[in-house]
């Protein structure tokens, strides 16, 4: 391997941009996503399928809320916290939103440092992201406990339409599960980054393949998606 012959790759076909690029990428017998690895493309396609899952949940919620003859409980009052002698509307949900957005910010920076091959900063930022995520799940557990102690059940609640409980538990429960899985995913990848797996090209335990820093971006895609879903839940369930 001392003297390796220099080879020049054959010139690739021109890649037009814009709409004609879209047409030529999808046309004929070729790889569609030119500059995206299979890992990233598959994560995007998984997220697309997840979009439909959450889309259907929110649709079910919309249908239930629109078709009920009993008034819907006012989320502003239901999710108010009693702080300093007065009810502050939605305050816990607002804090949860800020926590999740902060975790997205640290994740975006982790991806950036990952591509700079700065393994310490990448791992530290991923751990911080996981910490924010765990905080979010903790606050959600607090919220669930509070509502359950107030008598909210999937089949009834003290304030109005009984469907409120079932949609609330289903939507936030599924989202919380996604956050929890994301935290586990983050911890696993952060450990690999910290150990230097992607610098020494250590082979993966399960796949026996060499990883690279792109996995940080793929993890990031999943994490940002969790934040994205929360944006929609916050708007439609808590604010509407």
């Amino acid at each position: 391997m001392h003297e390796s012959a220099k080879t020049t790759p054959s010139p690739t076909l021109p890649r037009p941009s814009g709409l004609s690029g879209f047409a030529s990428d999808w046309a004929s017998d070729q790889r569609t996503f030119k500059n995206v690895s299979w890992g990233k493309a598959m994560m995007w396609i998984f997220l697309l399928s997840d979009t439909f899952i959450f889309g259907c949940f929110l649709l079910a919620y919309m249908t239930a809320r629109m078709s009920t003859t009993v008034p819907w409980p006012n989320p502003s009052e239901v999710f108010a916290l009693h702080i300093g002698g007065q009810d502050v509307p939605l305050i816990l949900i607002a804090i949860m939103t800020f926590v999740l957005i902060s975790s997205s910010g640290t994740m975006a920076m982790a991806v950036n440092y990952g591509y700079r091959r700065d393994r310490r900063k990448t791992a530290a930022l991923m751990l911080l992201t996981a910490l924010f995520g765990a905080t979010f799940v903790g606050m959600q557990a607090f919220e669930w406990t509070k509502l359950i102690s107030e008598g909210v059940r999937p089949w009834e609640n003290p304030w109005g339409a009984p469907q409120f409980g079932s949609t609330f538990f289903m939507i936030t429960g599924f989202h919380g599960t996604h956050v929890t899985i994301g935290v586990i995913f983050l911890l696993i990848i952060a450990r690999k980054v910290w150990r230097g797996d992607f610098d020494t090209e250590r082979r993966g335990f399960f796949t026996s393949r060499k990883g690279n820093y792109e996995i940080v971006e793929i993890t990031g895609l999943y994490w940002h998606f969790v934040d994205l879903v929360w944006v929609f839940i916050f708007a439609f369930f808590y604010l509407w």
Binding site: F22, T97, S102, A108, A235
Partner: protein
């Protein structure tokens, strides 16, 4: 040794394929998301009601979602082939929304007709 040099050259090329953006960009988007979330919280805090409320909520929601997908998820720098593959299918959910709105109206109508008591 030559191998590692070739390797580092290769990784340098590899790194160039992923656009490097300054950290400042992410901090700016982070700040913007904070501001937008704060505004949507204020909508509830000041009890804005009716169409103004729904319009404001939707505007802030779409802006936030757009920022996350475009900047944080790097969609703004992908090729159209991927952008359309991911962004267009969810738009079809809107058709489903239209179907379910009409279905919900029908359910409400039958409930009011056959189970009496108006809301």
């Amino acid at each position: 040794m030559a191998q590692s040099a070739a390797h580092s050259a290769q990784t340098a090329v590899h790194a160039q394929e992923h656009q490097q953006h300054p950290i400042k960009l992410y901090l700016a988007v982070w700040g913007l998301l904070f501001v937008l979330s704060f505004f949507s919280y204020l909508v509830d805090y000041f009890h804005v009601q009716g169409y103004l409320r729904w319009t404001l909520i939707l505007i802030f929601m779409v802006l936030k979602a757009g920022l996350i997908v475009a900047i944080f998820m790097h969609m703004a720098w992908e090729r159209l082939a991927l952008i359309y593959a991911i962004i267009l299918p969810p738009v079809m959910i809107l058709v489903f929304v239209a179907l379910m709105v009409s279905e919900a109206h029908y359910t409400l109508l039958t409930r009011l007709t056959f189970f009496g008591a108006a809301p």
